[in-house]
Amino acid sequence: MERASRVAGVLVRGSVYLMLALPALIVIASSVSRTRFLTFPPQGFTLDWYGRAFRSQAFMGSLALSTELAVAATLLALAIGTPAAYAIDRHRFRGRDLFHAFVMSPMIVPLVVLAIGLLQLMTWLGFGQAFLRLLVGHVVITLPYVVRTMTASLALFDRALEEAAMNLRATPWQVVRRVTLPILLPGLLSAAVFCFVTSFGNITVSVFLARGNQVTLPVQIFTYVEHSYDPILAAVSTLVIVVTLIVIFLVERTVGLERMV
Protein backbone atom coordinates (compact mmCIF):
# COMPACT_ATOMS: atom_id res chain seq x y z
CA MET A 1 0.00 0.00 0.00
CA GLU A 2 2.70 2.39 1.10
CA ARG A 3 4.84 1.27 -1.79
CA ALA A 4 1.98 1.80 -4.22
CA SER A 5 1.37 5.36 -3.04
CA ARG A 6 5.09 6.11 -3.25
CA VAL A 7 5.19 4.85 -6.84
CA ALA A 8 2.07 6.91 -7.62
CA GLY A 9 3.72 9.96 -6.09
CA VAL A 10 6.81 9.54 -8.20
CA LEU A 11 4.64 9.09 -11.32
CA VAL A 12 2.59 12.21 -10.64
CA ARG A 13 5.62 14.34 -9.87
CA GLY A 14 7.47 12.92 -12.83
CA SER A 15 4.69 13.71 -15.27
CA VAL A 16 4.28 17.24 -13.90
CA TYR A 17 7.99 17.92 -14.33
CA LEU A 18 7.88 16.37 -17.79
CA MET A 19 4.93 18.53 -18.86
CA LEU A 20 6.66 21.64 -17.57
CA ALA A 21 9.94 20.84 -19.26
CA LEU A 22 8.60 19.24 -22.43
CA PRO A 23 8.05 22.38 -24.55
CA ALA A 24 11.57 23.57 -23.78
CA LEU A 25 13.02 20.11 -24.44
CA ILE A 26 11.18 19.81 -27.77
CA VAL A 27 12.44 23.22 -28.85
CA ILE A 28 16.02 22.39 -27.90
CA ALA A 29 15.81 19.03 -29.69
CA SER A 30 14.31 20.54 -32.84
CA SER A 31 17.07 23.13 -33.04
CA VAL A 32 19.61 20.51 -34.12
CA SER A 33 17.52 18.90 -36.84
CA ARG A 34 19.06 18.65 -40.29
CA THR A 35 15.67 19.24 -41.94
CA ARG A 36 14.80 22.60 -43.52
CA PHE A 37 11.63 22.91 -41.46
CA LEU A 38 10.89 22.58 -37.76
CA THR A 39 10.27 18.99 -36.84
CA PHE A 40 10.14 16.72 -33.84
CA PRO A 41 11.75 14.30 -33.28
CA PRO A 42 14.78 15.89 -35.01
CA GLN A 43 16.32 14.16 -37.94
CA GLY A 44 20.09 14.02 -37.92
CA PHE A 45 22.30 16.43 -36.02
CA THR A 46 23.70 19.83 -36.93
CA LEU A 47 24.67 23.06 -35.14
CA ASP A 48 24.26 24.91 -38.40
CA TRP A 49 21.06 26.67 -37.30
CA TYR A 50 22.91 28.21 -34.37
CA GLY A 51 25.52 29.55 -36.74
CA ARG A 52 22.77 31.06 -38.86
CA ALA A 53 21.04 32.49 -35.85
CA PHE A 54 24.24 34.15 -34.64
CA ARG A 55 24.87 35.56 -38.09
CA SER A 56 21.31 36.89 -38.40
CA GLN A 57 21.35 40.67 -37.93
CA ALA A 58 17.63 40.67 -37.23
CA PHE A 59 17.70 38.01 -34.50
CA MET A 60 20.91 39.17 -32.81
CA GLY A 61 19.76 42.80 -32.91
CA SER A 62 16.46 41.97 -31.29
CA LEU A 63 18.13 39.66 -28.75
CA ALA A 64 20.34 42.56 -27.70
CA LEU A 65 17.37 44.91 -27.62
CA SER A 66 15.29 42.48 -25.57
CA THR A 67 18.10 41.95 -23.08
CA GLU A 68 18.82 45.66 -22.69
CA LEU A 69 15.12 46.36 -22.41
CA ALA A 70 14.55 43.65 -19.80
CA VAL A 71 17.50 44.83 -17.70
CA ALA A 72 16.47 48.49 -17.89
CA ALA A 73 12.79 47.75 -17.24
CA THR A 74 13.72 45.55 -14.26
CA LEU A 75 15.95 48.21 -12.70
CA LEU A 76 13.37 50.94 -13.23
CA ALA A 77 10.49 48.81 -11.94
CA LEU A 78 12.51 47.98 -8.82
CA ALA A 79 13.43 51.62 -8.31
CA ILE A 80 9.79 52.72 -8.57
CA GLY A 81 8.05 49.66 -7.15
CA THR A 82 10.11 49.23 -3.99
CA PRO A 83 9.41 52.72 -2.61
CA ALA A 84 5.77 52.29 -3.64
CA ALA A 85 5.54 49.00 -1.74
CA TYR A 86 7.29 50.66 1.21
CA ALA A 87 4.72 53.48 1.23
CA ILE A 88 1.84 51.00 1.01
CA ASP A 89 3.26 48.91 3.86
CA ARG A 90 4.40 51.60 6.26
CA HIS A 91 2.03 54.51 5.80
CA ARG A 92 -1.67 54.92 6.20
CA PHE A 93 -2.43 57.70 3.75
CA ARG A 94 -5.59 58.79 2.03
CA GLY A 95 -6.29 56.78 -1.09
CA ARG A 96 -3.79 54.08 -0.08
CA ASP A 97 -6.03 51.22 -1.21
CA LEU A 98 -6.74 53.01 -4.47
CA PHE A 99 -3.03 53.56 -5.03
CA HIS A 100 -2.33 49.89 -4.32
CA ALA A 101 -5.05 48.76 -6.72
CA PHE A 102 -3.77 51.22 -9.33
CA VAL A 103 -0.19 49.93 -9.38
CA MET A 104 -1.46 46.34 -9.44
CA SER A 105 -3.95 46.98 -12.25
CA PRO A 106 -1.63 46.13 -15.21
CA MET A 107 -1.81 42.57 -13.93
CA ILE A 108 -5.59 42.52 -14.28
CA VAL A 109 -6.24 44.67 -17.36
CA PRO A 110 -5.80 42.52 -20.51
CA LEU A 111 -2.41 43.29 -22.01
CA VAL A 112 -3.95 44.05 -25.40
CA VAL A 113 -6.09 46.78 -23.90
CA LEU A 114 -3.11 48.13 -21.98
CA ALA A 115 -0.97 48.07 -25.11
CA ILE A 116 -3.50 49.97 -27.21
CA GLY A 117 -3.88 52.53 -24.46
CA LEU A 118 -0.13 52.96 -24.16
CA LEU A 119 0.27 53.26 -27.93
CA GLN A 120 -2.34 56.00 -28.12
CA LEU A 121 -0.86 57.78 -25.12
CA MET A 122 2.60 57.77 -26.68
CA THR A 123 1.38 58.90 -30.05
CA TRP A 124 -0.47 61.71 -28.34
CA LEU A 125 2.60 62.65 -26.29
CA GLY A 126 4.79 62.36 -29.37
CA PHE A 127 7.02 59.68 -27.84
CA GLY A 128 8.84 58.60 -30.98
CA GLN A 129 11.97 56.85 -29.73
CA ALA A 130 11.39 53.08 -29.91
CA PHE A 131 13.45 52.03 -26.90
CA LEU A 132 11.84 54.64 -24.68
CA ARG A 133 8.35 53.61 -25.78
CA LEU A 134 9.10 49.95 -25.06
CA LEU A 135 10.73 50.81 -21.75
CA VAL A 136 7.71 52.73 -20.48
CA GLY A 137 5.42 49.91 -21.53
CA HIS A 138 7.55 47.23 -19.92
CA VAL A 139 7.90 49.15 -16.66
CA VAL A 140 4.12 49.39 -16.49
CA ILE A 141 3.66 45.64 -16.93
CA THR A 142 6.51 44.61 -14.58
CA LEU A 143 5.69 47.07 -11.78
CA PRO A 144 2.91 44.92 -10.27
CA TYR A 145 5.37 42.05 -9.77
CA VAL A 146 7.70 44.29 -7.79
CA VAL A 147 4.90 45.77 -5.70
CA ARG A 148 3.37 42.38 -4.99
CA THR A 149 6.64 40.71 -4.05
CA MET A 150 7.90 43.63 -1.99
CA THR A 151 4.65 44.23 -0.06
CA ALA A 152 4.78 40.54 0.84
CA SER A 153 8.44 40.82 1.93
CA LEU A 154 7.75 43.98 3.91
CA ALA A 155 4.73 42.47 5.63
CA LEU A 156 6.99 39.69 6.94
CA PHE A 157 9.70 42.14 7.94
CA ASP A 158 10.01 42.54 11.71
CA ARG A 159 10.07 46.26 12.42
CA ALA A 160 11.72 45.63 15.77
CA LEU A 161 14.90 44.85 13.79
CA GLU A 162 15.06 48.46 12.63
CA GLU A 163 14.45 49.66 16.17
CA ALA A 164 17.18 47.37 17.44
CA ALA A 165 19.55 48.79 14.83
CA MET A 166 18.68 52.36 15.79
CA ASN A 167 19.16 51.49 19.43
CA LEU A 168 22.63 50.26 18.45
CA ARG A 169 23.46 53.76 17.15
CA ALA A 170 22.69 53.10 13.48
CA THR A 171 21.62 56.27 11.66
CA PRO A 172 18.57 55.89 9.38
CA TRP A 173 20.87 55.40 6.39
CA GLN A 174 22.91 52.75 8.23
CA VAL A 175 19.66 51.01 9.23
CA VAL A 176 18.59 50.76 5.58
CA ARG A 177 22.01 49.67 4.34
CA ARG A 178 22.91 47.20 7.09
CA VAL A 179 19.52 45.79 8.12
CA THR A 180 16.53 46.62 5.93
CA LEU A 181 18.07 46.04 2.49
CA PRO A 182 20.04 42.87 3.31
CA ILE A 183 16.94 41.29 4.82
CA LEU A 184 14.76 42.37 1.88
CA LEU A 185 17.38 41.27 -0.67
CA PRO A 186 15.85 37.85 -1.41
CA GLY A 187 12.52 39.58 -2.09
CA LEU A 188 14.20 42.16 -4.33
CA LEU A 189 15.98 39.49 -6.35
CA SER A 190 12.85 37.44 -6.68
CA ALA A 191 11.02 40.54 -7.94
CA ALA A 192 13.90 41.16 -10.34
CA VAL A 193 13.58 37.66 -11.80
CA PHE A 194 9.83 38.06 -12.31
CA CYS A 195 10.39 41.42 -14.00
CA PHE A 196 13.16 40.17 -16.26
CA VAL A 197 11.27 37.10 -17.38
CA THR A 198 8.03 39.04 -17.89
CA SER A 199 9.72 41.74 -19.94
CA PHE A 200 11.95 39.35 -21.87
CA GLY A 201 9.05 37.16 -22.94
CA ASN A 202 6.41 39.80 -23.60
CA ILE A 203 4.87 40.04 -27.06
CA THR A 204 1.54 41.82 -26.72
CA VAL A 205 2.80 45.16 -25.47
CA SER A 206 6.01 45.04 -27.55
CA VAL A 207 4.13 44.42 -30.79
CA PHE A 208 2.19 47.63 -30.35
CA LEU A 209 5.04 49.80 -29.14
CA ALA A 210 7.87 48.63 -31.39
CA ARG A 211 8.82 50.84 -34.30
CA GLY A 212 10.57 50.14 -37.56
CA ASN A 213 13.31 47.51 -37.21
CA GLN A 214 13.52 48.07 -33.44
CA VAL A 215 11.64 44.91 -32.40
CA THR A 216 12.11 42.64 -29.42
CA LEU A 217 13.10 39.02 -29.81
CA PRO A 218 9.66 37.45 -29.14
CA VAL A 219 8.14 39.79 -31.72
CA GLN A 220 10.91 38.96 -34.17
CA ILE A 221 10.25 35.23 -33.70
CA PHE A 222 6.54 35.78 -34.05
CA THR A 223 6.84 37.68 -37.33
CA TYR A 224 9.45 35.28 -38.68
CA VAL A 225 7.06 32.36 -38.21
CA GLU A 226 4.59 34.03 -40.57
CA HIS A 227 6.75 33.44 -43.65
CA SER A 228 9.13 30.61 -42.76
CA TYR A 229 9.27 27.68 -40.40
CA ASP A 230 12.89 26.57 -40.32
CA PRO A 231 14.88 25.30 -37.28
CA ILE A 232 16.59 28.69 -36.90
CA LEU A 233 13.49 29.51 -34.80
CA ALA A 234 14.27 26.65 -32.47
CA ALA A 235 17.90 27.76 -32.20
CA VAL A 236 16.86 31.30 -31.28
CA SER A 237 14.28 30.00 -28.80
CA THR A 238 17.00 27.89 -27.21
CA LEU A 239 19.02 31.07 -26.78
CA VAL A 240 16.02 32.62 -24.97
CA ILE A 241 15.90 29.62 -22.65
CA VAL A 242 19.65 29.92 -22.02
CA VAL A 243 19.42 33.64 -21.18
CA THR A 244 16.55 32.97 -18.77
CA LEU A 245 18.44 30.12 -17.14
CA ILE A 246 21.54 32.30 -16.74
CA VAL A 247 19.49 34.96 -14.93
CA ILE A 248 17.92 32.39 -12.62
CA PHE A 249 21.31 30.75 -12.04
CA LEU A 250 22.91 34.07 -11.08
CA VAL A 251 20.14 34.79 -8.60
CA GLU A 252 20.34 31.27 -7.24
CA ARG A 253 24.06 31.73 -6.65
CA THR A 254 23.44 34.97 -4.75
CA VAL A 255 20.61 34.00 -2.43
CA GLY A 256 19.39 30.51 -3.18
CA LEU A 257 16.05 29.89 -4.86
CA GLU A 258 14.41 28.46 -1.76
CA ARG A 259 14.87 31.79 0.02
CA MET A 260 13.33 33.73 -2.87
CA VAL A 261 9.73 33.10 -1.93
Partner: protein
Amino acid sequence: MSGKPVLSLVGLRKEYGAVVAVDDLSFEVDRGEVVCLLGPSGCGKTTTLRMVAGFVTPTAGDVHIEGIPVAHLPPYRRDTGMVFQHYALFPHLSVAENVGFGLRNLGVARAERDGRVRDVLGMVELADLAHRLPRELSGGQQQRVALARALALRPAVLLLDEPLSNLDAQLRIRMREEVRVLVKRLEMTTVFVTHDQEEALVLADRIVVMNRGRVEQIGGPQEIYERPATRFVAEFIGLCNLLDGTVREVRSGELTVETGRGLRLRVRASGPGPAAGQRVVVAIRPERVVAAPNGEAPNRFRARVVAGTYLGSVSRHRVVVEGEELLVEGHTASSTPLTPGTETEIAVDPAHVRLLP
Protein backbone atom coordinates in the same frame (compact mmCIF):
# COMPACT_ATOMS: atom_id res chain seq x y z
CA MET B 1 30.00 57.02 42.51
CA SER B 2 26.31 57.74 42.98
CA GLY B 3 24.89 61.16 43.67
CA LYS B 4 23.11 62.29 40.54
CA PRO B 5 20.64 59.81 39.04
CA VAL B 6 21.63 58.22 35.73
CA LEU B 7 18.10 58.27 34.42
CA SER B 8 15.26 60.61 35.32
CA LEU B 9 11.78 60.71 33.93
CA VAL B 10 10.25 64.11 34.40
CA GLY B 11 6.48 64.43 34.12
CA LEU B 12 6.43 62.02 31.19
CA ARG B 13 3.11 61.80 29.37
CA LYS B 14 1.92 60.05 26.25
CA GLU B 15 -1.47 60.38 24.63
CA TYR B 16 -2.75 58.34 21.71
CA GLY B 17 -5.72 60.35 20.54
CA ALA B 18 -8.06 60.45 23.49
CA VAL B 19 -6.26 57.63 25.30
CA VAL B 20 -3.67 58.56 27.89
CA ALA B 21 -1.12 55.73 27.81
CA VAL B 22 1.29 57.28 30.29
CA ASP B 23 0.13 59.99 32.66
CA ASP B 24 2.59 62.33 34.34
CA LEU B 25 5.22 59.75 35.21
CA SER B 26 8.27 60.78 37.22
CA PHE B 27 10.98 58.69 38.84
CA GLU B 28 14.73 58.45 38.98
CA VAL B 29 17.14 55.55 38.65
CA ASP B 30 20.49 55.72 40.43
CA ARG B 31 23.77 54.40 39.11
CA GLY B 32 23.85 50.60 39.18
CA GLU B 33 20.25 50.34 40.32
CA VAL B 34 17.81 47.83 38.83
CA VAL B 35 14.31 49.25 38.55
CA CYS B 36 11.35 47.18 37.39
CA LEU B 37 8.29 48.65 35.74
CA LEU B 38 5.56 46.27 36.79
CA GLY B 39 1.93 46.25 35.77
CA PRO B 40 -0.73 44.49 33.74
CA SER B 41 -0.66 44.73 29.94
CA GLY B 42 -1.76 48.11 28.74
CA CYS B 43 -0.59 49.91 31.87
CA GLY B 44 1.92 51.98 29.93
CA LYS B 45 5.12 50.28 31.08
CA THR B 46 6.35 49.36 27.60
CA THR B 47 5.39 52.78 26.25
CA THR B 48 7.47 54.30 29.04
CA LEU B 49 10.47 52.15 28.15
CA ARG B 50 10.07 53.05 24.50
CA MET B 51 9.99 56.73 25.37
CA VAL B 52 13.31 56.28 27.19
CA ALA B 53 14.79 54.47 24.16
CA GLY B 54 13.39 57.08 21.79
CA PHE B 55 10.95 54.98 19.76
CA VAL B 56 7.97 56.88 21.12
CA THR B 57 7.86 60.66 21.33
CA PRO B 58 6.34 61.87 24.59
CA THR B 59 3.38 64.24 24.45
CA ALA B 60 4.83 66.10 27.41
CA GLY B 61 7.69 65.82 29.87
CA ASP B 62 11.30 64.81 29.33
CA VAL B 63 13.79 62.01 29.84
CA HIS B 64 17.26 62.79 31.21
CA ILE B 65 20.13 60.37 30.71
CA GLU B 66 23.26 61.30 32.66
CA GLY B 67 21.69 64.70 33.24
CA ILE B 68 21.17 65.41 29.55
CA PRO B 69 17.60 65.95 28.31
CA VAL B 70 17.08 63.52 25.41
CA ALA B 71 13.37 63.73 24.54
CA HIS B 72 14.18 65.53 21.28
CA LEU B 73 17.01 63.14 20.31
CA PRO B 74 16.52 60.19 17.92
CA PRO B 75 17.15 56.68 19.33
CA TYR B 76 20.62 56.44 17.79
CA ARG B 77 21.79 59.51 19.71
CA ARG B 78 20.76 58.14 23.11
CA ASP B 79 23.03 56.16 25.36
CA THR B 80 20.73 53.19 25.96
CA GLY B 81 21.03 49.48 25.21
CA MET B 82 17.79 47.61 24.74
CA VAL B 83 16.83 43.96 24.88
CA PHE B 84 13.63 43.42 22.93
CA GLN B 85 10.81 41.10 23.89
CA HIS B 86 11.36 38.88 20.86
CA TYR B 87 15.11 39.66 20.90
CA ALA B 88 15.11 41.23 17.40
CA LEU B 89 18.41 39.59 16.51
CA PHE B 90 19.52 40.35 12.96
CA PRO B 91 18.77 37.09 11.13
CA HIS B 92 21.35 37.67 8.41
CA LEU B 93 24.26 38.26 10.81
CA SER B 94 26.22 35.83 12.96
CA VAL B 95 26.21 36.02 16.74
CA ALA B 96 29.51 37.92 16.71
CA GLU B 97 28.26 40.33 14.02
CA ASN B 98 25.07 40.94 15.97
CA VAL B 99 27.05 41.77 19.09
CA GLY B 100 29.53 43.92 17.15
CA PHE B 101 26.78 45.75 15.23
CA GLY B 102 26.72 48.81 17.48
CA LEU B 103 30.50 49.08 17.67
CA ARG B 104 30.66 49.04 13.89
CA ASN B 105 28.13 51.84 13.66
CA LEU B 106 30.32 53.89 15.95
CA GLY B 107 33.33 53.17 13.71
CA VAL B 108 35.28 51.23 16.32
CA ALA B 109 38.33 49.69 14.65
CA ARG B 110 38.20 46.02 13.72
CA ALA B 111 40.77 44.80 16.24
CA GLU B 112 39.19 46.55 19.20
CA ARG B 113 35.74 45.52 18.05
CA ASP B 114 36.68 41.85 17.89
CA GLY B 115 38.20 42.02 21.35
CA ARG B 116 35.15 43.63 22.87
CA VAL B 117 32.77 41.22 21.14
CA ARG B 118 34.82 38.32 22.53
CA ASP B 119 34.71 39.79 26.03
CA VAL B 120 30.96 40.34 26.00
CA LEU B 121 30.27 36.91 24.51
CA GLY B 122 32.47 35.42 27.21
CA MET B 123 30.43 37.24 29.82
CA VAL B 124 27.24 35.50 28.65
CA GLU B 125 29.10 32.24 28.04
CA LEU B 126 28.51 32.13 24.30
CA ALA B 127 32.09 32.43 23.04
CA ASP B 128 31.82 29.03 21.31
CA LEU B 129 28.78 30.06 19.27
CA ALA B 130 30.19 33.30 17.85
CA HIS B 131 29.87 32.14 14.24
CA ARG B 132 26.39 30.69 14.43
CA LEU B 133 23.35 32.40 12.96
CA PRO B 134 20.56 33.39 15.38
CA ARG B 135 18.17 30.77 13.97
CA GLU B 136 20.65 28.06 14.93
CA LEU B 137 20.40 28.98 18.63
CA SER B 138 17.96 27.94 21.34
CA GLY B 139 15.63 30.51 22.92
CA GLY B 140 17.84 30.91 25.96
CA GLN B 141 20.94 31.38 23.82
CA GLN B 142 19.19 33.98 21.65
CA GLN B 143 18.20 35.80 24.80
CA ARG B 144 21.84 35.94 25.89
CA VAL B 145 22.96 37.20 22.49
CA ALA B 146 20.38 39.99 22.76
CA LEU B 147 21.71 40.85 26.20
CA ALA B 148 25.32 40.76 25.01
CA ARG B 149 24.46 42.95 22.04
CA ALA B 150 22.85 45.55 24.29
CA LEU B 151 25.79 45.47 26.71
CA ALA B 152 28.51 45.65 24.06
CA LEU B 153 28.23 49.43 23.80
CA ARG B 154 28.43 49.81 27.59
CA PRO B 155 25.31 51.96 27.58
CA ALA B 156 24.46 54.32 30.42
CA VAL B 157 21.11 52.58 30.80
CA LEU B 158 20.17 49.00 29.98
CA LEU B 159 16.52 48.61 28.96
CA LEU B 160 14.82 45.22 29.02
CA ASP B 161 11.33 44.76 27.58
CA GLU B 162 9.86 41.55 29.02
CA PRO B 163 12.96 39.69 27.86
CA LEU B 164 12.16 36.48 29.70
CA SER B 165 8.53 36.12 28.66
CA ASN B 166 9.36 33.83 25.72
CA LEU B 167 11.28 31.28 27.75
CA ASP B 168 9.84 28.21 29.40
CA ALA B 169 9.32 28.35 33.16
CA GLN B 170 12.53 26.56 34.19
CA LEU B 171 14.77 28.60 31.94
CA ARG B 172 13.03 31.82 32.91
CA ILE B 173 13.88 31.27 36.55
CA ARG B 174 17.51 30.49 35.73
CA MET B 175 17.86 33.41 33.31
CA ARG B 176 16.48 35.96 35.73
CA GLU B 177 19.11 34.96 38.27
CA GLU B 178 21.79 35.24 35.58
CA VAL B 179 20.57 38.63 34.42
CA ARG B 180 20.54 39.92 37.97
CA VAL B 181 24.06 38.65 38.70
CA LEU B 182 25.39 40.06 35.43
CA VAL B 183 23.93 43.56 35.67
CA LYS B 184 24.97 43.78 39.31
CA ARG B 185 28.51 42.70 38.51
CA LEU B 186 28.70 45.30 35.73
CA GLU B 187 26.99 47.88 37.97
CA MET B 188 24.66 48.45 35.06
CA THR B 189 21.85 50.94 35.55
CA THR B 190 18.83 48.92 34.40
CA VAL B 191 15.16 49.44 33.69
CA PHE B 192 13.25 46.21 33.32
CA VAL B 193 9.67 45.92 32.13
CA THR B 194 7.61 42.93 33.23
CA HIS B 195 4.09 41.86 34.03
CA ASP B 196 5.40 39.00 36.15
CA GLN B 197 5.37 40.05 39.79
CA GLU B 198 7.73 37.29 40.86
CA GLU B 199 10.26 38.40 38.26
CA ALA B 200 10.03 41.95 39.58
CA LEU B 201 10.48 40.85 43.19
CA VAL B 202 13.55 38.76 42.33
CA LEU B 203 15.25 41.17 39.95
CA ALA B 204 14.55 44.64 41.17
CA ASP B 205 16.14 46.90 43.72
CA ARG B 206 13.08 49.06 43.32
CA ILE B 207 9.72 48.39 41.70
CA VAL B 208 7.52 50.95 39.99
CA VAL B 209 4.01 49.51 40.02
CA MET B 210 1.96 51.01 37.20
CA ASN B 211 -1.72 50.90 36.42
CA ARG B 212 -3.55 52.71 33.63
CA GLY B 213 -0.58 54.91 32.85
CA ARG B 214 -0.07 56.05 36.44
CA VAL B 215 2.30 55.07 39.21
CA GLU B 216 0.55 53.19 42.00
CA GLN B 217 3.61 52.78 44.20
CA ILE B 218 7.38 52.96 44.04
CA GLY B 219 9.40 50.95 46.54
CA GLY B 220 11.68 48.04 47.26
CA PRO B 221 10.33 44.51 46.72
CA GLN B 222 9.70 43.98 50.42
CA GLU B 223 8.02 47.34 50.86
CA ILE B 224 5.78 46.75 47.85
CA TYR B 225 4.77 43.32 49.10
CA GLU B 226 4.49 43.98 52.82
CA ARG B 227 3.16 47.52 52.72
CA PRO B 228 1.15 47.96 49.52
CA ALA B 229 -0.02 51.54 49.16
CA THR B 230 -3.16 50.85 47.19
CA ARG B 231 -5.71 48.15 46.68
CA PHE B 232 -4.36 47.64 43.15
CA VAL B 233 -0.83 46.93 44.40
CA ALA B 234 -2.10 44.56 47.08
CA GLU B 235 -4.12 42.62 44.52
CA PHE B 236 -1.58 42.65 41.71
CA ILE B 237 1.40 41.46 43.72
CA GLY B 238 0.86 38.14 45.43
CA LEU B 239 -2.41 37.02 46.91
CA CYS B 240 -4.20 39.24 49.37
CA ASN B 241 -7.33 39.12 51.49
CA LEU B 242 -9.15 42.41 50.94
CA LEU B 243 -12.13 43.28 53.11
CA ASP B 244 -14.17 46.48 53.05
CA GLY B 245 -14.57 47.95 56.50
CA THR B 246 -15.13 50.99 58.69
CA VAL B 247 -12.87 52.33 61.43
CA ARG B 248 -14.76 52.00 64.71
CA GLU B 249 -12.27 52.95 67.37
CA VAL B 250 -9.00 54.82 67.41
CA ARG B 251 -6.67 54.47 70.36
CA SER B 252 -3.02 55.28 70.67
CA GLY B 253 -1.13 52.75 68.58
CA GLU B 254 -4.15 50.71 67.67
CA LEU B 255 -7.37 50.89 65.67
CA THR B 256 -10.39 48.68 65.53
CA VAL B 257 -11.97 48.07 62.15
CA GLU B 258 -15.29 46.41 61.57
CA THR B 259 -15.84 44.74 58.22
CA GLY B 260 -19.11 44.76 56.32
CA ARG B 261 -20.18 41.45 57.77
CA GLY B 262 -19.20 42.38 61.29
CA LEU B 263 -15.73 40.94 61.76
CA ARG B 264 -13.89 43.19 64.23
CA LEU B 265 -10.15 43.36 63.70
CA ARG B 266 -7.53 45.14 65.73
CA VAL B 267 -4.94 46.90 63.61
CA ARG B 268 -1.53 48.27 64.62
CA ALA B 269 -1.54 51.96 63.73
CA SER B 270 1.54 53.34 62.05
CA GLY B 271 1.80 57.12 61.82
CA PRO B 272 -1.27 59.24 61.28
CA GLY B 273 -3.98 56.72 60.41
CA PRO B 274 -7.59 57.11 59.40
CA ALA B 275 -10.13 58.63 61.77
CA ALA B 276 -13.06 56.84 63.37
CA GLY B 277 -15.98 56.36 61.01
CA GLN B 278 -13.76 56.36 57.92
CA ARG B 279 -14.23 53.63 55.33
CA VAL B 280 -11.10 51.61 54.60
CA VAL B 281 -9.94 48.44 52.85
CA VAL B 282 -8.38 45.85 55.13
CA ALA B 283 -5.50 43.94 53.53
CA ILE B 284 -4.09 40.75 55.03
CA ARG B 285 -1.61 38.48 53.22
CA PRO B 286 -2.74 34.82 53.38
CA GLU B 287 0.53 33.72 55.03
CA ARG B 288 -0.14 36.20 57.87
CA VAL B 289 -3.28 34.34 58.87
CA VAL B 290 -2.08 31.73 61.34
CA ALA B 291 -4.12 28.56 61.72
CA ALA B 292 -4.53 27.01 65.16
CA PRO B 293 -2.31 29.48 67.02
CA ASN B 294 -0.79 28.75 70.42
CA GLY B 295 -1.78 30.86 73.41
CA GLU B 296 -3.53 34.21 73.54
CA ALA B 297 -3.65 36.42 70.44
CA PRO B 298 -5.42 39.72 69.85
CA ASN B 299 -7.27 38.81 66.62
CA ARG B 300 -8.31 35.28 67.37
CA PHE B 301 -11.38 33.78 65.76
CA ARG B 302 -13.17 30.53 65.18
CA ALA B 303 -13.21 29.64 61.51
CA ARG B 304 -14.77 27.01 59.33
CA VAL B 305 -12.49 25.47 56.71
CA VAL B 306 -14.33 25.53 53.34
CA ALA B 307 -11.80 24.25 50.84
CA GLY B 308 -8.12 23.52 50.50
CA THR B 309 -5.43 23.48 47.84
CA TYR B 310 -2.19 21.60 48.20
CA LEU B 311 0.67 23.34 46.38
CA GLY B 312 3.62 21.28 47.50
CA SER B 313 5.70 23.46 49.76
CA VAL B 314 2.67 25.45 50.86
CA SER B 315 -1.00 24.70 51.38
CA ARG B 316 -3.76 27.23 50.87
CA HIS B 317 -7.19 27.03 52.47
CA ARG B 318 -10.36 29.03 52.26
CA VAL B 319 -11.92 29.64 55.66
CA VAL B 320 -15.02 31.56 56.74
CA VAL B 321 -14.84 33.80 59.80
CA GLU B 322 -18.03 35.53 60.91
CA GLY B 323 -19.30 35.50 57.33
CA GLU B 324 -16.06 36.86 55.83
CA GLU B 325 -14.03 34.58 53.64
CA LEU B 326 -10.26 34.50 54.10
CA LEU B 327 -7.39 32.74 52.39
CA VAL B 328 -4.96 31.05 54.74
CA GLU B 329 -1.56 29.95 53.55
CA GLY B 330 0.91 27.92 55.54
CA HIS B 331 4.07 25.95 54.91
CA THR B 332 3.09 22.34 54.52
CA ALA B 333 6.01 21.26 56.70
CA SER B 334 5.52 23.61 59.65
CA SER B 335 1.86 24.57 59.92
CA THR B 336 -1.08 22.65 61.34
CA PRO B 337 -2.86 20.73 58.57
CA LEU B 338 -6.45 21.86 57.98
CA THR B 339 -9.28 19.65 56.80
CA PRO B 340 -12.16 21.10 54.80
CA GLY B 341 -15.46 20.75 56.67
CA THR B 342 -13.86 21.08 60.11
CA GLU B 343 -13.50 24.09 62.38
CA THR B 344 -10.28 25.67 63.56
CA GLU B 345 -8.94 28.70 65.36
CA ILE B 346 -7.15 31.38 63.37
CA ALA B 347 -5.24 34.49 64.43
CA VAL B 348 -3.91 37.59 62.69
CA ASP B 349 -1.18 39.73 64.23
CA PRO B 350 -2.43 43.37 64.31
CA ALA B 351 1.00 44.40 62.96
CA HIS B 352 0.27 42.52 59.75
CA VAL B 353 -3.09 44.03 59.00
CA ARG B 354 -2.80 46.87 56.47
CA LEU B 355 -5.37 49.56 55.95
CA LEU B 356 -5.69 50.89 52.42
CA PRO B 357 -7.66 53.90 51.25
